[in-house]
Amino acid sequence: MREKSTTLYLGPQHPGITGNMMVKLQLEGDTIVKATTHVGYLHRAFEKLIERRNWMQSTTILCRFCVPEPDPPEAAFALAVEQIEGREVPERGKYLRSLVLELARIQSFMLWYAGQNGSAGLYTVGQWSVGDRNYVLDLFEELTGGRIYHMYIWPGGVRRDIPEGFEDKVLHTMDYIEKRIDDYDRMMFDSAIFQKRAQGVGIISKEKAMEWGVVGAPLRGCGIGHDVRKDNPYDAYDKLDFQMGIFDGGDVWARAKVRQFEIRQSISMVRQIIQNLPKGDYLNKMPNPMKWTIPAGSAYGKVESVRGEFGFHVVSDGSDKPRRVHARGPAYAHGISLLEDILVGENLADVSFIMNSLGVCPPEIER
């Protein structure tokens, strides 16, 4: 028997969907009465492949866990491995890691500007921010050799030291971007239409947030201050001065305000790192990478990615290959089940808008 309400497939081939996934909507009018998320279009069996690679080879796979921000998975995996092995990271390595993570955060926020505004039809901000994002990617390219996938953070430190004159370039880029995001904000946050659309839409209550395991900006947008960088500081974050952006409301607007606040915090952090960058070694060198074994044990390494807590549960059985690596992406919980819950009662026009504000990223859900 056919459904009474209208079925609308939002995705996988749909301009409004974030990545390759599908939300099957049941509509009455343009109000959603039921939403079912379907993932798995991007399943590449990463965790299976890592079991077949040795510890060092896994690095190439790790960065592909989440495409918009490839560095947090590397850092989380490195943290977990270091915990099992007990390997120390030199101070400079820690700072460089934080530098890369913050730069990755900035470029990812700029991508978010594009997604959030593009789903609301304001393409100009997206064009600007994605265009300017290339300047951050240029920094990455100079530092790591890759625009998108860096494979820079290794267990024990980072892959290479910063090139000469890099600090100035970073500072210069930060100045430019700081100037530009004011422009974006003027067009986006000051727009009455954007305010009208964002306020009161896609509300997550505090209870629901805890129940569904919401993390990152959506959680801080509910007024709950949780940030791995503050709670379980890793790398150089305990030495940096920054604040969490906490806003009440739990709607798209609050989440946008959180991100607006945090991109500025990131820029300031990058500046602090460049100023306080200690001298010394950047990598606690491992023995021959091809024959590197890790003692048996398990650990959960987690970092704060752009969209929230990114964790790796790493199990080693003492061989040269991981026994099991299981990732927990920030969107894993709120990208599937919570989305189904909060989309009910919302308008069709806001689906893409809400998904962008939650930061749903399918590749890390299905891996």
Partner: protein, 616 residues
């Protein structure tokens, strides 16, 4: 024998005979009613308007005969009645109690003819009641009086009838005659307060039948619950009796000093049309949608009449004729769908276009006419209405009309999409086209809609003669109806309908030829299951047609207006009334002396009031 009497005897006698015939020879019933109606039509057209019949009953002088105005409405009744009966033979096939149905059907047509031919208030009222009762019997035909829809209709009709009766009594007390001629001649001699009271009372009576807000609440259910073949007449012709009455009142009983009445009526009609359109937009049942749409359309007609300008009245009468044409086509089409599919709920049906193409064509043409798009007849009426209102300075009224007719696009599309477009589901694969006897009336009426778009003369000519009887002199220069294709407003602006038609049809044909011939070989038809559903494969349980709450955003925007239906006020009123009766019941304590006192007091009250106001 006078042909007027013959007409009525044929109608009413034939109705009774149809009932008897159905008992004994049901096979001949259909042929009989159709032949009877065709015969009556012939008689009607041969009667003409000069025939007058005078007689006395119980010392009251009565007069029958058609005027040019009532003849116009008579044409609607007769043509629509014949077509609806032809349609009915197929539509009602297999239903029970058909004798009852046809008897009441013919009774109501006869009563309508009676109303139109009566030249005195008593016979008008008499036929009016026959019409009410016979239509009431058909409303409750399809079963028990569920939801009291028939009762609601009856209560409002009774209210209307009583106010009419009161008006008739008042008129008689002043003028001493029931003849319309006498009444029209001497109405302006009596006080203007009484004039207004008479006009208002009569308009309440007529307003009920034409379903004017706030007297419309019976209409949606009554229209949608009666068999569609009758609703075509109900909405097309029967409601026009109310319009006819309005025309009588507005042009003959209201003096030009009382322009406020015209204004009030026009504004009421405008509000009627806007609100009814909004209600129609949010309906999901095709019959109810059309019912609300009828209410809205009659709003336009009355606005036109109440505008009291030449063009406006012409627009009103033109729209009255055209509304009868396209709305009955639509009801017939919906009836055809109902008969072939089993439901008219637009959330259930979809994609009938390939199954019922001719019904679709008839619906499409009627919908274009209804929406008032060029080059069909609806546009002509709308154009005249707008121009009349603009040139006569009804600035805000024209905005209301425009709001209503723009919002009418929404439900026009809704009904086409809901029934004929959208996904073609396998469960409707067995549906066949309606039988020929249903299609032919629809297509004939659609043809009228098409023809009236470019050459409205054949409707405008009888309208002009009718308007002459209301005192509006013709100012459209033309030689024959074929040449009346250019319309003017009083400022001299015009629309040339033939040019419009040529341009639209010419461009349409050229573009159609181009798009068909270009790459004809590689043009493919695919089913509606092969759509770009974001790359996903449609599952059998998916309902890919957008059906429920079609205009949800619009509904949200107009929500403040619709929050409370007028129906609810009546329900509250009804509850209040019950409480009142509860209170009253305490007086009826079973003691006979008390009753005697009540009756005495009431009579005394009536006497005082009567001498004071009515001068008995």
């Amino acid at each position: 024998m006078n042909s007027l009497i013959l007409l009525l005897i044929l109608m009413f006698g034939g109705a009774l005979f149809a009932f008897i015939l159905n008992k004994f020879v049901p096979a001949l019933r259909d042929i009989f009613v159709v032949l009877l109606m065709l015969g009556v039509s012939y008689l009607f057209f041969s009667t003409g308007i000069s025939n007058r019949l005078n007689f006395d009953v119980l010392g009251i002088h009565m007069q029958w005969g058609f005027t040019s105005a009532s003849y116009l409405f008579g044409i609607i009744v007769v043509v629509l009645g014949s077509l609806a009966l032809i349609y009915s033979t197929a539509y009602m096939k297999g239903k029970d109690r058909l004798g009852y149905f046809y008897m009441n059907f013919l009774f109501s047509i006869g009563a309508m003819l009676g109303i139109l031919m009566s030249r005195d208030l008593i016979s008008l009222f008499f036929f009016w009641e026959i019409m009410t009762w016979s239509s009431y019997f058909i409303v409750i035909y399809s079963g028990n009086d569920v939801d009291r829809r028939g009762l609601k209709y009856m209560i409002f009709s009774a209210i209307g009838a009583y106010s009419m009766l009161m008006a008739i009594v008042i008129v008689n007390s002043f003028i001493g005659s029931f003849l319309l001629e006498d009444v029209f001649a001497s109405i302006f001699a009596i006080g203007s307060g009484y004039q207004i009271a008479i006009a208002i009372l009569l308009m309440i009576g007529f307003g009920v039948k034409s379903a004017m807000m706030p007297l419309h609440v019976w209409a949606p259910r009554a229209y949608s619950e009666s068999p569609m073949s009758y609703t075509a007449v109900f909405s097309g012709a029967l409601s026009k009796m109310g319009v006819f009455g309005f025309a009588l009142v507005l042009f003959n009983l209201v003096s030009t000093q009382n322009w406020l009445i015209n204004e009030v009526v026009a504004w009421l009609a405008a509000i009627t049309s806007v609100l009814a359109t909004f209600y129609a937009v949010i309906q999901s049942d095709a019959k109810k949608l059309l019912a609300y749409s009828s209410i809205a359309q009659i709003g336009y007609i009355i606005i036109g009449l109440a505008s009291n300008t030449y063009l406006g009245v012409m627009a009103g009468l033109f729209l009255a004729v055209l509304h009868a044409v396209f709305k009955s086509t639509l009801f017939m089409a919906v009836g055809a769908v109902e008969r072939q599919v089993g439901t008219t709920d637009m959330t259930k049906i979809s994609g009938l276009i390939r199954r019922m193409p001719w019904t679709f064509v008839a619906t499409l043409i009627s919908i274009i006419a209804l929406a008032g798009l060029p080059p069909l007849g609806g546009f002509v009426g709308k154009w005249m209405l707008y121009e009349a209102l603009i040139t006569s300075g009804h600035y805000y009224l024209v905005i209301m009309v425009f709001l209503s007719s723009t919002a009418a696009f929404l439900y026009s599309y809704r009904i086409l999409f809901g029934m004929f477009l959208g996904q073609e589901e396998p469960e409707f694969a067995h549906v066949k086209e309606a039988p020929l006897s249903m299609l032919i009336p629809m297509l004939i009426l659609s043809g009228i809609s098409v023809l009236s778009g470019s050459h409205p003369g054949f409707i405008l000519e009888p309208i002009q003669s009718a308007m002459a009887s209301f005192g509006f002199q013709s100012n459209l220069p033309h030689e024959s109806w074929w040449e009346l294709t250019v319309l003017f407003n009083t400022w001299g602006d015009k629309v040339a309908l033939v040019n419009v038609l040529t341009s639209i049809v010419g461009v349409f044909l050229i573009a159609l030829a181009f798009i068909t011939i270009k790459g004809y070989k590689n043009q493919r038809y695919v089913t509606t299951k092969d759509i770009s559903s974001s790359g996903e494969i449609i599952q059998p349980e998916d309902n890919m047609t957008f059906q429920i709450d079609f205009y949800k955003p619009f509904e949200r925007a107009i929500w403040p207006l619709l929050k409370r239906k007028i129906d609810d006020y009546y329900t509250d009123f009804g509850k209040g009334l019950e409480a009142l009766f509860d209170f009253v019941r305490r007086f009826y304590n079973g003691n006979g002396q008390f009753y005697a006192i009540y009756v005495m007091a009431f009579l005394a009250l009536l006497l005082i009031a009567g001498t004071k106001y009515f001068g008995f």
